[in-house]
């Protein structure tokens, strides 16, 4: 029954939207439930139960994934808006986020490589700190596996949202702008969303930092891919 239904891409899209809607509603009740995980698990379960292949589901899924491109362009809006508000700190914030992006790419790639991961996995790990749409583009540039990148990006976000503030307190980083820069660089949107309840300044810096970290990472990845060629 579902076999014949999934043959049409529209059904996969509808299915994804439906479970996303449910996940959002649950997230509103229980803040600790990350919508991406709550939305994905039932779809995986459904595909497994009906013995349906991911490839068939993804014919429709690709239509959604494609919109990550325009979503990347849309990131210019929070970058511009918060850039205006932060004008005085911007040059230094740029240096800070650039160094964070560089350190993130090197540590992620080197640790995976040292532990014997194959090249495609190493390349998938490199963009793991940045917001999903940019991470996916960078991963494709480097011939990694986008699914692994997305998984790592989500986990980096959840780590930052749950432990970021605590870890920063351990090293006595208390300035609102420093907290925002650190969470935005390390945990993109998921981390940024966790700051909203704490401080406007943290949120604003973090939104700027997540977009900037994505831009710097893709510039650095371009240099890396030229070097690897």
């Amino acid at each position: 029954m579902i076999r014949s239904l999934l043959a049409s891409p529209a059904v996969s899209v509808a299915l994804s939207i439906a479970f996303y809607g449910i996940a959002l509603a649950l997230h509103r009740r229980w803040r600790a439930l990350p919508p991406i995980i709550v939305a994905s698990i039932p779809i995986v379960a459904l595909l497994l139960i009906t013995n349906e292949s991911y490839r068939i589901y993804n014919r429709g899924g690709d239509l959604l994934t494609w919109w990550l491109g325009p979503a990347t362009v849309a990131l210019a809006v929070p970058m511009y808006r918060n850039g205006l508000a932060l004008r005085r700190s911007l040059p230094r914030l740029g240096i800070i986020v650039f160094c964070a992006a560089l350190v993130g790419m090197i540590t992620a790639g080197v640790v995976a490589w040292l532990l014997g991961a194959p090249r495609a996995v190493v390349m998938s790990a490199i963009p793991k700190s940045v917001t999903t749409p940019i991470a996916v583009e960078v991963c494709q540039e480097l011939h990694g596996i986008p699914q692994i990148t997305v998984g790592m990006v989500i986990l980096a976000g959840i780590l930052g949202a749950s432990l970021g503030q605590l870890l920063l307190r351990l090293i006595r980083v208390r300035d609102d702008r420093a907290i925002g820069a650190a969470i935005g660089s390390a945990s993109h949107g998921i981390g940024t969303a966790s700051l909203v309840r704490h401080s406007e300044m943290q949120t604003s810096v973090s939104s700027w930092a997540m977009a900037a970290c994505g831009v710097f990472t893709s510039l650095l990845a371009a240099i890396l891919s030229l070097y690897l060629r």
Binding site: S40, I96, G104, A112, L115, Q147
Partner: protein
């Protein structure tokens, strides 16, 4: 509604422009090129923020939906993931802490003598 559609058209135009440049050999991903062009269009005043605000905010607010299919795709990578689990998790945790501490400490040091701005409220992103 008109504002929203206009915004979507502008975003798509910049995305296609960026992708086109990328195909012609600029090594930066198309979406990021679009982002940069769009950013400079706003800085120089060629484009007004309010023309795209509603569309961009909508797309970013529901970005999670857009990466549901890739997340579901992890189901096909079971064997590779279990073989590489240690490398992937170690890389994730070490790099996460490295980025957090680099940015946090560097910011504490570099921003110490720059007074904080009055802050403008912003929409939270997902």
């Amino acid at each position: 509604m008109f504002d929203f559609l206009r915004g979507i058209v502008v975003l798509l135009a910049f995305f296609f422009g960026g992708s086109w440049l990328h195909r012609w050999g600029v090594p930066i991903p198309g979406g990021v090129l679009g982002l940069l062009l769009f950013y400079f269009a706003m800085v120089t005043g060629v484009l007004k923020l309010r023309w795209v605000e509603s569309a961009a905010d909508f797309l970013l607010r529901h970005m999670v939906l857009l990466f549901v299919p890739l997340t579901v795709g992890l189901m096909d990578l079971g064997p590779l993931l279990s073989r590489q689990a240690a490398a992937i998790l170690a890389s994730l945790v070490v790099s996460f802490i490295a980025v957090l501490f680099t940015a946090g400490l560097l910011a504490r040091w570099l921003l110490a003598d720059v007074p904080a701005e009055e802050c403008a409220a912003t929409e939270p992103l997902p």
